[in-house]
């Protein structure tokens, strides 16, 4: 027990130490506290409101009343489904934001010879004493008062179920992290895993949107929801949220069985995490090495300094999960928009503009993604113009090929290729998307020399370097807003066409205008970025060195 308490004390000692060291961390923590308080108050307010609901609601006399509070009623189904998604999201968020970069990573205790079970238990308990766990616990306890109309027993059981739910969330999250760090040893495996988790997360966030907008609210099937809730209530994800309803409707046997499911989950997670600890200790350094034949892009890129920069960048983009993620997004956008299109093909086409806008978001902080490797270029005395040209070559080529392939795909998938008017309209959106990508890229060549912010290490894409949240929250906006502003010339021409009423006949004019606008901004950004890089190369290297120290 001493070791466990020591780990809990260590967790808070580290938190206080970080707060003392950095004003930004203190500000961040205060904001986190306000959010936590807001969450608890929000849960309490929601509970108060739900507690006022009547057992049945009949919106119109000619339809059957809706069961709100009864067994498999709306409240029951909603709570279990929301709780299930919440538990899943907690796991994914933990994996994305904290992951193996967390201060309390088991690896850091390897030297002390603490038995695996004690260490794992200590880490679990210390996790449960953290601000997120306490917030979750208090919010769920506040939520218990939503059940006051279905019985006092339900309230009492909900109060008991709150810690059970939090322990389950924490156990599952820890198992997910342990498995991801232990079993995925190769760099490529980690990269693929990272992309899958992020896509899953975004998809999970989009589920409600797609359900509502996808095929109309009439397609919502209550029976399917009830069935889903019933199934979820028997999984570790939703079991804790069903407990108050079990006791309210007199299903004590089911209550005990579900508690059994939860306990089994904790044990399984604990055993799994302990196994991972042991496995990792016994197999440290046994990662597979992958061989690559030839010199890849170095063999066919232009035979020049900027060609070397291009080849290096392209090779890295293929091996860097943090940046490769960005290239999954355009396809993802198109799929999401097509699910919400209601048969209107222009909704899908507009995905190209979003894709163009996001394509260079990583490049807007590109030097930070390259990290200390940039020093190699500085040592070799590479001119800023050569570097910028090399980078732009790769990104511009990706933007052109990617958006064109997507445009052709959309044209065929929607059938717009058969209608010349719609095809021209699509072509205009493609041109605007490409122009937006070029404007963003041009701006990126400037922002990546001036507004750098720390990023996770390539080895640990899930980790969160200290001081990241504050700066990262602000700097990407410079890119996102700035790249839109750079498209202003096209916007002005479009506005003029609209004001003169010529837009319906002459909208195709926007195609050359947008492309010229994009190319112009790209050239300007590349030139200015080169000048900035020449002037700031040494301070950039210095900044990247300081970022590297945050990643360890």
């Amino acid at each position: 027990m001493t070791a466990v308490l020591t780990l809990v004390r260590l967790r808070w000692a580290l938190t206080w130490a970080t707060l003392k060291k950095s004003v930004w961390q203190t500000v961040g923590y205060v904001i986190a506290l306000v959010i936590a308080l807001g969450t608890i108050i929000g849960a309490a307010a929601a509970a108060w409101g739900v507690g006022l609901l009547p057992p049945f609601v009949q919106p119109k006399p000619d339809i059957a009343p809706f069961d709100i509070l009864g067994p498999s009623g709306i409240l029951n189904v909603a709570v279990v489904l929301v709780g299930t998604v919440l538990t899943l999201m907690v796991g994914l968020v933990q994996l994305m934001l904290l992951g193996e970069g967390s201060t309390m990573s088991p690896r850091k205790f390897a030297l002390y010879g603490i038995p695996d079970r004690k260490l794992q238990f200590g880490l679990l308990i210390s996790g449960l004493t953290g601000l997120p766990a306490i917030t979750g616990l208090l919010s769920l306890m506040a939520w218990a008062f939503a059940y006051r109309t279905i019985g006092a027993c339900a309230v009492v059981v909900a109060l008991v179920a709150a810690p059970l739910a939090v322990i389950t969330m924490m156990s599952l999250a820890k198992l997910l992290i342990a498995l991801s760090t232990t079993l995925i040893t190769s760099s490529r495996g980690k990269g693929v895993f990272y992309i899958v988790v992020i896509v899953l997360f975004i998809a999970a966030c989009q589920v409600p949107n797609i359900l509502i907008n996808g095929s109309g609210a009439s397609a919502f099937d209550p029976a399917a929801a009830v069935l889903s809730a019933k199934v979820a209530a028997w999984t570790p994800l939703g079991a804790a949220f069903q407990l108050p309803f079990d006791v309210a409707f007199g299903h004590v046997g089911l209550l005990l069985a579900r508690i059994g499911v939860l306990v089994l989950t904790w044990v399984a997670c604990f055993v799994g995490c302990t196994w991972c600890l042991r496995h990792e200790r016994l197999t440290t350094g046994a990662s597979r090495t992958v061989k690559t034949k030839g010199i890849g892009a170095f063999g066919w890129m232009p035979d020049s300094v900027s060609g070397a920069v291009s080849a290096r960048l392209l090779t890295y983009l293929k091996r860097d999960p943090r940046q490769a993620m960005i290239f999954v997004m355009p396809v993802f956008f198109v799929i999401i928009f097509s699910l919400q299109s209601h048969g209107e093909s222009m909704v899908i086409w507009q995905g190209l503009i979003w894709s163009g806008w996001m394509l260079a978001v990583a490049e807007s902080n590109g030097l930070a993604y390259d990290g200390q490797g940039v020093t190699m270029q500085v040592i070799a005395g590479v001119r800023g113009w050569d570097d910028r040209k090399g980078r732009v070559r790769v990104y511009a080529a990706i933007a052109i090929i990617y958006l064109t392939v997507l445009a052709v795909g959309i044209a065929f998938a929607t059938g717009d290729w058969t209608d010349s008017n719609r095809l021209l309209l699509g072509l205009m959106i493609w041109a605007i998307g490409l122009a937006e990508a070029f404007c963003g890229l041009g701006l990126s060549e400037i922002t990546s020399c001036v507004f750098l912010y720390p990023v996770p290490a390539m080895d640990k894409p899930f980790s969160s370097p200290q001081g990241r949240a504050m700066a990262q929250g602000f700097f990407p906006f410079i890119y996102l807003l700035g790249s839109l502003l750079l498209l202003l010339p096209t916007g002005i021409v479009a506005a003029l066409l609209a004001l003169t009423g010529a837009i319906t006949a002459l909208y195709w004019v926007l195609i050359p205008v947008a492309l010229a606008n994009g190319v112009g901004m790209l050239v300007l950004g590349t030139w200015l970025g080169g000048k900035l890089l020449d002037a700031r190369a040494l301070s950039i290297v210095d900044t990247l060195d300081s970022f590297a120290s945050l990643q360890h």
Partner: protein, 324 residues
């Protein structure tokens, strides 16, 4: 701001001495410690430094350092940790802007056209300063092309270097999968691919195995014999004594002694001489509880964590600890 430009040269610090080993003479004194005549930069030297000064906050890292490194020499910069060796090398190679002072490489002012100077020299990057997701072969080709070499020539030289450094088998393996020694070797190879006239190496043999180290030394000695200048910083005095023709002892950001190895050693063992020059060595300290025994060892069944001193299990242990 210190008056560090063109530090006056002491009468006895004759530039010609640097190129002519004179074992019988005592080591040269640091020029900035004696104010007499101004001492101009020497364009004939491989590297000429005058009054180099750098401050980080309150800490003066390099304090008016002056030095000439002859062409074709194998020059060792030695000094204790924090003496200013790496800072000096960074300023000389254009990787750090000095607060004051001048540096010249083969007659070119470093800070007037820094990129030209950088292409003339070969600086060995530290392992964390390379793109380690490239394969060894890709890294070398990249390094060559960055210096303006053609692809085919870079590729041919990369193959030669990989063979010379015993890395041919690992040519297609990502550098991140290399061992520490292999990584050092590929870093050195990347600094040599453009056949620079001056090689600057910061702790080149650290974590390199003896066999690879011997091969590396042979390559570097051969390179120096062909007229190249090698500048290394190192803590390993025996290595400097064995390989270097010249040495400068740096302490507190200044040159304590410089000249040929024989001049600096002044008839003594170089390591002993180094310790005399930098000082700081004291009598052995005995810590009462560090007895190699079991008297104060904590019970292994009661593990403790980093923030819990094991004195908690041994209430009197802290009191017993004392310097004797």
């Amino acid at each position: 701001m210190p008056q560090a430009q063109n530090v006056p040269l002491p009468d006895r610090f004759d530039q010609s001495q640097l190129n002519q080993p004179q074992p019988e003479q005592p080591p040269q004194l640091p020029p900035q410690q004696s104010a007499a005549q101004p001492w101009p930069l020497n364009p004939a030297a491989a590297v000429s430094i005058r009054g180099l000064f750098k401050r980080f906050g309150q800490k003066i890292a390099v304090n008016g350092l002056a030095l000439d490194i002859p062409v074709g020499s194998f020059y060792g910069l030695v000094g204790p940790n924090g003496a200013g060796k790496t800072t000096t090398l960074n300023m000389v190679t254009g990787l750090l802007v000095p607060d004051a002072g001048n540096a010249m490489i083969l007659g070119h002012d470093v800070w007037q056209d820094v990129n030209t100077v950088k292409r003339m020299i070969g600086v060995m990057p530290q392992p964390e300063q390379i793109f380690d997701r490239l394969t060894g072969m890709q890294l070398l080709v990249y390094s060559g092309m960055l210096r303006g070499m053609k692809r085919d020539e870079s590729l041919a030289r990369a193959k030669d270097l990989l063979s010379a450094f015993d890395l041919a088998q690992a040519a297609d393996v990502m550098v991140s999968d290399y061992s520490a020694g292999m990584t050092k070797k590929i870093c050195l190879a990347s600094a040599m691919i453009h056949s620079p006239r001056i090689l600057v190496l910061d702790e080149p043999f650290e974590s390199v195995d003896p066999v690879s180290s011997a091969n590396l030394k042979d390559i570097l000695i051969e390179y120096a014999h062909t007229g190249g200048t090698v500048i290394i910083s190192s803590h390993v005095m025996s290595l400097v004594e064995k390989m270097c023709t010249h040495v400068a002892v740096i302490n507190n950001g200044m040159v304590s002694a410089a000249g040929t190895v024989e001049q600096v050693a002044a008839g003594e063992d170089l390591e002993e001489r180094f310790l005399q020059l930098v000082g700081g060595r004291h009598a052995a300290v005995r810590i009462s509880w560090l007895d190699g025994g079991t008297a104060h060892t904590p019970d292994p069944s009661t593990p403790y964590a980093a923030n819990e001193p094991y004195a908690a299990n041994e209430p009197n242990a802290a009191n017993e600890s004392s310097r004797q």
